[in-house]
């Protein structure tokens, strides 16, 4: 393939994915999408291999490499029609957790299926026992919300009203959720138009050849990057605080084998599936491995399906990373996945200490407040909390940031207070929380919420409360997370990392986030 035309088409394909993301950000409803940007967009080839991505969250991008492939296994390609939009959120079908809803549109040229546009967005609610759909005590997947198998909700003729009504009847805030869905559909429609124009200009065969060539090129680049790592077998482990409702720390263990141009990640030694929502899917584990390899070996490599070919991922059926069907897993998406990255980094810590960072806030640090507004409509406030970055060999960690698989924004207090019945009473650095070291870990944050409504639901979903962020090369650990509820009637109690409860007017919720691990022995 003409190397210049290949570049031209690469830019065009990336531009389409970027346009999708910008459409969702501007039109969607969930606050998560709007302030936090918890969404991703992708184009895949006809087989479902990721080709191009828009603005992105690393965990989504790894997962979307599997979504269309799973759709194609469930729905024969002959059933796909131009104008279709298929919706799914099943974790076991190329998914991660129920709130991440994928809208998938097959793209045709000359009557032939040549690509897919995928829009993934985190809906602020997908049903289930608690507003926001994070259920600490969930014992199965059905308790976590509505499970949507691949379903054609839009055709060339328009909306399939009954199916959409069925969907909306099962989630809180149906008007908002409909807005999210329409935004995702609009994004895939934009992609369809742009992609058709691209095929008209260059010919569909050329575009397909370019997609194949981009895979090959990224594969070659990733092989070369892996070859630059020292060969060997490395083992690492890290622990989740608990399995959800409680219990002892849960182990995530990896054996990393670097052999020439290939890297293998074997998580078989990880603990068994747990009762609570900290399980996750092999797709998510693969996303964690892809992220780790890109961060360590090749940040500049164009991420696509080919980039992942030299990377092997093994999970043990029955483990928390490959659980039996129907297990709950809402928290695994951003907690257990990040623990996989921790385990990989710790495995490689001695071999390439200068390429990795000490432990940081490998948790989304989620608090969800839910309630009905004065007009009776459901409202949810989904807060993510950054914390101190781990230090590196040449610099201290930065305070209050997101690391690794997560990269969502916080919502400004001035927006929260105008739209939700809470007052943010403080947002400050948590001084002294960074781990000791030649370079100190970054500081965490303190953020406090006063409840103004008579009653709100509160969900916590965070980690690093019991097992602190780790130091590297002799550096000390950071202070762990702590979330305290000061009740209006007096008295204070520490909340667990995964908990659902009701809070009342005048209560104060204080979230203190972790400091980063230090690097090197303190001088």
């Amino acid at each position: 393939m003409d190397p210049f035309l290949l570049e031209v088409l690469r830019h065009a394909l990336s531009s389409i994915a970027e346009e999708m993301s910008s459409t969702v950000v501007r039109a969607a409803r969930s606050p998560l999408l709007r302030e936090a940007g918890d969404l991703s967009s992708a184009l895949t080839d006809a087989r479902g291999e990721l080709v191009a991505q828009g603005r992105d969250i690393p965990v989504h991008l790894g997962v979307m490499n599997f979504t269309v492939k799973a759709l194609l296994r469930a729905v024969p390609a002959e059933r796909l029609r131009p104008g279709d939009v298929w919706v799914t959120n099943l974790p076991e079908m190329g998914g991660n957790h129920l709130p991440d809803v994928k809208a998938i549109r097959p793209l045709f040229a000359g009557g032939r299926l040549v690509a897919f546009a995928v829009s993934l967005a985190h809906w602020a609610d997908i049903g289930g026992a608690w507003p926001g759909s994070y259920v600490a005590e969930a014992h199965d997947s059905w308790a976590e919300g509505l499970r949507i198998p691949p379903t054609r909700m839009f055709t060339a003729e328009g909306r399939d009203e009954e199916k959409i009504a069925f969907l909306l009847a099962n989630v809180r805030g149906p008007a908002e959720r409909e807005g999210d869905l329409l935004a995702q559909v609009a994004a895939t429609r934009a992609a369809e138009e742009r992609f058709a124009a691209l095929c008209a200009e260059h010919g569909a065969a050329t575009v397909e050849a370019a997609m194949a060539a981009l895979h090959d090129r990224s594969e070659a680049a990733m092989r070369a990057a892996i070859a630059g790592l020292p060969d060997g077998v490395y083992e690492g482990e890290d622990f989740l605080d608990d399995d959800g409702p409680g219990g002892a720390p849960v182990g995530v263990r990896v054996r990393v084998t670097i052999a020439g141009e290939r890297a293998a990640f074997d998580f078989s030694a990880s603990d068994d599936a747990v009762a609570g929502p900290m399980n996750t899917t092999p797709n998510v584990v693969a996303a964690a491995c892809y992220y780790a390899m890109k961060a360590i070996a090749g940040p500049e490599i164009q991420p696509n399906g080919g980039c992942y070919r030299p990377i092997g991922v093994i999970t043990r059926p029955g483990s928390l990373l490959d659980p039996p069907p129907g297990r709950p897993l809402v928290g695994g998406n951003h907690e257990t996945s990040n623990r996989c990255v921790d385990a990989i980094f710790r495995a490689l810590a001695d071999a390439i200490p200068e390429r990795i960072s000490a432990g940081g806030p490998t948790t989304a640090g989620v608090l969800i407040l839910g309630g009905t507004g004065p007009d009776g409509a459901w409202q949810t406030l989904y807060e993510v909390h950054g914390a101190g970055e781990g230090a590196r060999h040449d610099r201290p960690g930065v305070p209050v940031t997101r690391v690794h698989l997560t990269n969502t924004n916080s919502t400004p207090a001035e927006i929260i207070e105008a739209e939700f019945p809470v007052r943010v009473e403080c947002h400050a650095l948590r001084l002294g929380s960074g781990g000791e070291g030649r370079h100190r870990g970054g500081e965490g944050a303190v953020r406090a919420y006063r409840v103004l409504a008579p009653e709100l639901s509160l969900t916590t979903m965070f980690e690093r409360r019991v097992v602190p962020p780790w130091g590297l090369a002799g550096g000390g650990p950071g202070l762990p997370f702590r979330c305290t509820l000061h009740e209006a009637g007096g008295g204070a109690r520490e909340l667990r990392g995964k908990q659902n409860l009701m809070v009342r007017q005048g209560d104060l919720i204080v979230m203190e986030t972790s400091g980063g691990g230090g690097y090197g022995r303190p001088a």
């Binding site: 910008s22 924004n409 207090a413 007052r423 400050a428």
Partner: protein, 670 residues
């Protein structure tokens, strides 16, 4: 005697000047900038067009001084007064990181105000403007004492929800002024919008550049005769008084690129082009902007050095691809930029030690750039050096040097086309029907290639295209713009509040214009409401000038929403903000159109490569020789001292009486 209207744009490398006079031909020049002494740069530029300062009636200038101070971190120490519990917000930010996969770079720039100069104030205002904790005189005095003790001469005040009720900020402002603080920046004045981190940073940045701006503007005032009116370009593409700019220097932060866009908007108005894409390609970057109905699109989300500025600014997509951009073949594929050979050593063909292939070298290899010309009379171009720089790349790709050069330009075009997509798609505009307005040193040479890559068939290369930012300074309207948070639900609709907010904004914006002697009747007002469905993402910008009734505003919103996203749901909506622009249209006095000239004759012919099939003999013209009403069919090259217009086969170029050249696509060739 009516004097000269002069525009001066002081860039990092060159200072451009354009001077207009009702009875004389326009004058223009480009002189090397003197970064240490910008006032001298202006005097030097005036001399270069043969003007003495006394002959200048009006001087408008754009400067990168504020820009560079922010980018290079040369900021004055600032003390920040913030609501107790929120002093660290200026540092914490929104906690996301820019580089997803790079662990070696810090996720965020260092804070504008270090912790030891962040001072808590015991007070609290809420989102509706009500006061939860009054600011006592004692608490104000305590905060003022701490600010003075910090030793900083610049003080920023950014209190929670000050945009909804500025009383506490005003009180602190008065006490700080009474205490003799020379540079004061209040958040409700700098950026009256919600989002505390962004507002705090913008307010602190403003305070940090105030001393520099004040010093500079005073120096400039002293250097010019008393009778000369002085204006400053602001980032929204208009001009402002020096007094306004000294108090709010942040409005100048992106004034350089904005000046070019202002010129593009003026040309678009004059030429009656409804939909224009400004394409400003220089040595290291390319800036593109969207101009609809003669007005540049505006954004309030512009950032500089990864810091939020929160000032209404011309919306510009800037990418690191320009004439000096280096071509590399890496693991991510073939890339053009963002690394640049810069002015030193410059592209390989400059013969100053540059060895890597650049975009400029490709243009020379293909015969577009003329090796006989000397850029600015100084730099000679060496084709053999360009070929030598391209040879290793061509060998790795298994093609010839000419094919590699052709290919590199296509990749550069694709890179720039992506910027065009971003600037249009976000605004629901199909850029393919637009006219590409090409300027900057490299814009006119790349315009046809970019137009082809993006599906555009009309290009306008304006007169004075290589000193276009300076023209923008002359042609800009005097204008003031403000965006503020206004939370107004549709139900119940409070039309009186909308009217009150409108009136207040109008008064604030009109004051400096009236002070400048602009008649009330001459004021032009544009108004945009930010509206969204309740709970929706970003608000949609809806022009609402003259609308007050709920039904009318709602209908305008839904129509705009449908145009942007393909649907409108009829749900509850709300206004979240209001933006107003007041301008005073300005009379540009310049000589009449040039009389028709004789048909142009080429001064030379030379081979140009437009595809791999082989060279095509191509006539070369002096730009001055192409005069109305004559046209040229491609292939042709049209040159002036600073830029080259490439007219490939399949394009036609026609001059108009004002010296603009309109290129249209006539066929499928090339």
């Amino acid at each position: 005697m009516a004097g000269w209207q002069v525009g001066v744009d002081i860039g990092g490398t060159f200072t451009d000047i354009v001077a207009l006079h009702p009875a004389e031909a326009p004058r223009t020049a480009k002189v090397p900038s003197r970064p240490a002494d910008p006032v001298a740069s202006i005097l030097h530029a005036l001399a270069a067009v043969g003007l003495r300062p006394e002959e200048v009636e009006e001087l408008t200038h754009g400067t990168t001084r504020v820009t560079n101070a922010i980018v290079e971190g040369r900021l004055e120490p600032v003390a920040l007064l913030a609501t107790e519990g929120f002093v660290d917000v200026v540092q914490i930010g929104r906690q996301s990181r820019r580089e997803l996969y790079r662990l070696d770079v810090p996720p965020r720039p260092a804070p504008v105000v270090p912790r030891e100069r962040r001072i808590p104030v015991a007070e609290r205002v809420l989102h509706d403007g009500s006061v939860a904790r009054p600011l006592t005189e004692a608490a104000a005095a305590e905060a003022v004492r701490a600010a003075l003790a910090s030793g900083a001469r610049s003080v920023a005040v950014a209190l929670m929800h000050a945009y909804a009720n500025p009383a506490h900020e005003r009180l602190l402002g008065e006490r700080l002024r009474d205490a003799g603080v020379p540079f004061l920046s209040l958040s409700h004045e700098v950026n009256p919008e919600a989002r505390e981190h962004e507002r705090s940073v913008a307010t602190a940045l403003n305070a940090a550049v105030m001393p520099l701006a004040a010093r500079y503007l005073a120096e400039l005032r002293r250097a010019l005769p008393r009778g000369t009116r002085l204006h400053v370009m602001h980032s929204a593409g208009g001009m402002a008084t020096p007094e306004h700019a000294a108090a709010r220097p942040l409005v100048m932060a992106l004034s350089g690129p904005a000046a070019g866009v202002a010129a593009a908007a003026a040309v678009a108005r004059e030429a009656g082009e409804a939909r224009v894409l400004g394409f400003d390609m220089g040595g290291t970057t390319t800036d593109v902007a969207l101009i609809l109905d003669g007005q540049a699109e505006i954004t309030a989300d512009a950032r500089l050095a990864d810091q939020p500025l929160r000032q209404p600014m011309v919306a510009i997509e800037s990418i690191g691809a320009g004439g000096g951009s280096i071509v590399r073949l890496g693991p991510g594929g073939l890339s053009v930029g963002p690394q640049s050979a810069g002015a030193e050593p410059g592209p390989a063909c400059y013969g100053r030690g540059g060895a890597e292939p650049t975009v400029c070298d490709a243009n020379l290899i293909l015969g577009y750039l003329d090796p006989r010309r000397r850029l600015g009379g100084e730099i000679a171009l060496d084709r053999a050096l360009a070929e030598a720089a391209f040879a290793p790349l061509a060998a790795r790709l298994g093609c010839g040097v000419v094919e590699a050069a052709l290919g590199v330009l296509r990749v550069a075009d694709a890179t720039m086309a992506r910027a065009l997509a971003r600037i249009t798609v976000e605004r629901g505009v199909d850029g393919r029907g637009a006219t590409l307005l090409a300027f900057g040193g490299m814009g006119p040479m790349h315009a046809a290639g970019l137009a082809r890559a993006y599906g555009i068939s009309r290009i306008l290369v304006p007169a004075l295209s290589s000193a276009f930012s300076a023209l923008g300074c002359v042609a800009a309207e005097m204008s003031y713009m403000r965006q503020q948070t206004l939370r107004l639900p549709a139900d119940p609709w409070d039309g009186a509040r909308l009217e009150a907010a409108r009136a207040a904004l109008f008064e604030e914006l009109a004051a400096p214009l009236r002070g400048h002697g602009v008649a009330e009747a001459a004021l032009r007002r544009e108004e945009v409401a930010l509206i969204r469905y309740r709970g929706q993402s970003y608000a949609v910008e809806v022009p609402i000038a003259g609308l007050s009734a709920r039904e009318a505003v709602g209908a305008a919103f839904e129509e705009r929403h449908r145009a942007l996203f393909g649907f409108a749901s009829g749900e509850a909506w709300e206004v979240t903000g209001l933006r107003m622009r007041l301008s005073a249209p300005r009379e540009i006095r310049r000589a009449d159109a040039a009389p028709p000239g004789p048909p142009p004759e080429p001064f030379a012919r030379g081979p140009c490569w437009f595809d791999a099939a082989g060279p095509v003999p191509t006539p070369r013209y002096d730009r001055a020789a192409l005069r109305a009403p004559h046209a040229l069919a491609g292939p042709a090259v049209i040159e002036d001292e600073w830029s080259t217009i490439l007219v490939p086969p399949g394009w036609r170029a026609q001059a108009d009486a004002f010296g603009h050249i309109l290129m249209t696509r006539t066929g499928e060739a090339a």
